[in-house]
């Protein structure tokens, strides 16, 4: 499918939806939005080419993206549509392995690859009565311990007869990706991936807002024959099955209970020999291999909510072998608890939010002889002293400790104060806000015996005048940041002025100017100017056009002397970066 055909298809979708939206049939309604977004990126460096490359392009040169999210209602039918996709056919996904999409540079994806590419989303969920069909890309989340957060391209159904809840879905979460060895034009190569198929089901009982209890079953299998040039070790075809029991209860007295118990079977390598040791088969779902493991996870939570207060606690345990292919990145081998609360005090002028918890890792001792321990504590107090003056104060503590000879310890303490003062005259209102953050981050390693002290301070002063009779709204800010550590002494000074001008009820002009000096001792300062301007325009009722252009000029100080580059450059390097963003959005 070439670019022209694709754009024609998009325009057809656009026009069709407009026509449908405009029709005044009682039986058909369309609600939702659609939009087309473009982002252009430019980068000019001085010197243009050098070794090492002192600044790399950080965005695609052109990115065109389309979204189409209407909900069609016709009689008993309701069809939510969720399409959002990139229009760059030559794009290679950045993470070709776990994204399940990658191909040799220069090749274009075919239509099927375009539909199933995880960076795109083509999903519809037609619903009639208590039956819902799921087609295309879906983010199916039955529970925390089972299905996960990956987009899956497939089909399924959700049924809700009476109190019963029956859900089924089958699809592909990771397409096959050919292994490509590193070469001169493609030094990273492509690691490759097997096609990963997913099946999932939920059977439960529910009374909406009161309780839910049910079982989730999820199975994932990598198709070993899905790819002619399979990835190399250690990427192996895998198989995973998770069974979990989930219950949620809400009482009339404000109590909430959450319990989920899960067990996973995980075969890390389907090429390993079949064996009933160390884990026995789980017929008819799992034929065990020597690389199969089986482990459990538990999530418990209880909370009570009052009129102006809330308190809760939760406990999570993830065994070292607990794994769900729907959420590949989940950190396991840990146990954690958290207590949190929120309440008002001092005649409801003070609002306090706090939490404290601990996390223990390496429960299996596979990463050393000792447990790791992490403390997470934070408290935030907001006080409205008078109508004009308020103060927000916060304290965070993160501590991590892994004892032993290969140990590591880090402690982060952060304290923040944010006073806000407002005063009014007959013509204007003024807001003055200050933020000061003090942060101390110490890291200690046993071998070599070193403690790195990292101190950071941030101060921000913000002034916002609001003119009652003017359509111009300016704001001004000054920021100072200092980071001191043994290998770095960085100071950053930034001043910003922003303005928006509402020219009429439909058109707003906006602009922003920012100048920064960042100094890494003992070098001279890097200088940066960031200029942004644009508009928000309501072209027609429900149809808006936004445009923003940004110029970013950066001049290095002696931190990056030109004579450190090859070929040698006389003077200090600089770059000019430009970003143009525009979007058309229609709400219907």
């Amino acid at each position: 499918m070439n670019q022209i055909t694709k754009i024609a298809l998009i325009l057809a979708l656009f026009l069709t939806s407009e026509v449908k939206a405009g029709e005044k049939k009682d039986s058909l309604t369309v609600k939702g939005d659609m939009g087309i977004y473009y982002e252009g990126y430019g980068l000019n460096k001085t010197p243009g080419t050098s070794t090492p490359d002192f600044y790399k392009a950080r965005k695609p040169w052109n990115l065109l993206r389309y979204s189409f999210n209407p909900v069609f209602s016709y009689g008993k039918w309701e069809i939510p549509v969720n399409f959002n996709f990139n229009l760059n056919l030559g794009q290679n996904n950045f993470n070709p392995g776990f994204s399940g999409f990658g191909m040799p540079p220069g090749m274009k994806q075919n239509f099927w690859q375009f539909l199933t590419n995880p960076v795109n989303n083509f999903g519809i969920r037609p619903k009639i009565g208590n039956t819902e069909f799921l087609l295309g890309t879906q983010y199916v989340k039955y529970s925390d311990l089972s299905t996960g957060d990956l987009g899956i391209f497939g089909y399924g159904v959700n049924l809700a007869p009476g109190k019963f809840r029956i859900k089924l879905f089958k699809g592909v979460s990771q397409g096959p990706v050919k292994y490509i060895a590193p070469s001169i034009p493609n030094p990273n190569g492509i690691p490759g991936a097997y096609q990963r198929n997913q099946w999932m089901a939920q059977l439960g009982l529910e009374k909406e807002g009161k309780y839910f209890a049910g079982f989730n079953i999820v199975k994932s299998v990598d198709k070993t024959g899905s790819i002619t040039s399979p990835p190399l070790f250690p990427i192996e075809p895998q198989e995973n099955m998770v069974i979990s029991f989930l219950t949620d209860v809400n009482t009339d007295k404000g109590w909430k209970y959450h319990i989920e118990l899960g067990q996973s079977f995980f075969t890390r390598n389907l090429n390993a020999p079949l064996s009933i040791t160390p884990v026995e088969d789980f017929k008819p779902f799992i034929n065990s291999h020597t690389s199969t493991s089986k482990d459990n996870a538990v999530m418990l939570g209880i909370a009570k909510k009052g009129s102006d207060w809330e308190i809760g606690t939760k406990f999570n345990y993830y065994g070292a072998g607990y794994y769900t292919a729907g959420f590949q990145f989940m950190t396991n081998d840990k146990m954690e608890y958290l207590l949190n609360t929120r309440f008002n005090a001092w005649k409801k002028k003070m609002n306090i939010v706090g939490s404290i918890g601990e996390r223990y890792g390496n429960l299996s001792r596979t990463a050393g002889p000792d447990l790791t321990k992490q403390i997470i504590a934070n408290i935030n107090v907001f006080t409205q002293f008078t109508d004009q003056f308020s103060m927000n104060a916060g304290y965070n503590n993160f501590g991590f400790n892994s004892p032993g000879l290969s140990g590591y310890k880090s402690v982060s303490n952060e304290l923040t104060f944010n006073p806000v003062y407002t005063w009014n005259s007959t013509t204007m209102s003024n807001l003055l806000s200050g933020t000061y953050t003090w942060s101390k981050y110490d890291e200690t390693t046993i071998l070599p015996p070193t403690t790195t002290k990292n101190n950071t301070q941030t101060a921000l002063l913000l002034y916002v005048p609001t003119f009652f009779s003017s359509k111009v709204s300016p704001d001004f800010s000054l920021m100072w940041f200092k980071n001191s550590a043994p290998t770095i002494n960085l100071t950053l000074l930034t001043s910003t002025a922003g303005m928006s001008w509402k020219m009429n009820s439909k058109f707003k002009l906006k602009g922003q100017l920012q100048y920064s000096l960042s100094t890494t001792s003992p070098f001279t300062a890097n200088k940066n100017l960031l200029v942004t301007s644009g508009f928000d325009w309501e072209v027609f009722k429900r149809f808006t056009w936004q445009l923003t252009a940004t110029a970013n000029v950066y001049h290095y100080g002696t931190e990056l002397p030109g004579n450190s580059l090859t070929p040698i450059y006389l003077g200090n390097p600089a770059y000019f970066e430009s970003i143009l963003r525009t979007g058309l959005q229609y709400k219907f």
């Binding site: 993470n95 989303n121 040791t277 690389s291 070292a320 990145f329 990463a367």
Partner: protein, 299 residues
Amino acid sequence: MKKYKFLLILGMFLTIHTLNAQITLNLALNPRPQPYLADWMYPINGQMIISFLPGTVVNDPSVKLKTTLLDQSRNIIGVSNINAARVYTLRQGVNQFTMADALQLQNLMLPGNVQSLLQRTGRLAAGDYYLQVELYNSGGDIVRAKQISHFTVISYQLPVLMQPANEAQLDAHIAQSMITFRWTSLIPASTEQTFYRIQVFEILPGQTPMQAFRGNQPILDEPAKRGITQYIWRPNLPMLDSTANHRFIWTIQSMDAKGIPVPNADMNTQGRSEPAVFTIVNPTVSVEKKIKNDVLNNH
């Protein structure tokens, strides 16, 4: 006379070896093998080599293996069942086996806690171990060769992202100039310096965080200073603007000194830690709106 004695002993020695087959066992085990024992089937973990030279009297090429796993103090923690061991028929010359053949994972009897850990994780607890392999005749009653080899098992836990925490909200006035990222070290701290790579992805309109993470080009993709678990990013992006992307997802990729991703359960992730999402907020906008609303209400 001494010369004759020596020749006599040498002659006897050679005669015995000619009558009996000569079998030598060599365990070329990687001293730091893969932590997942099922992965010992791959050559990276070493090889077991059995050389077989048949004799004139005893030339039985059939052998069985008995595997013993010992802890750091050479206490036995697991023994294979010789009766259930597979019978191998050796070829004349060099016979190569994988370390999985030497380990006999399917046939290894381990005590409760070690077996439980193996069932749950496919691994042994971190530490020093010895692998002893004895070569028996097919009857399982005569030891024909034996070797013991030391190895160390270590698994790594990937860093945990600390700051910005998952679902954190950052003030756009500060964040458009500077964002500080912090994470915990790889555990256990490697003797070779770990190489961390920070990656930040913009979540585009309509995208889910994981959609952005799986496909988008990262807006920041930089190595952190070696061994340092902090990175100060100077984004220089117009985050105060209403059309800018205000949601980001970030992670740390951990690599060894050679730049190879640290192994974990699913190598499709290439050593990336569980990602976290953060949002950029502009408090000025909400304050402005509040003031204007208050003014409208008062008038």
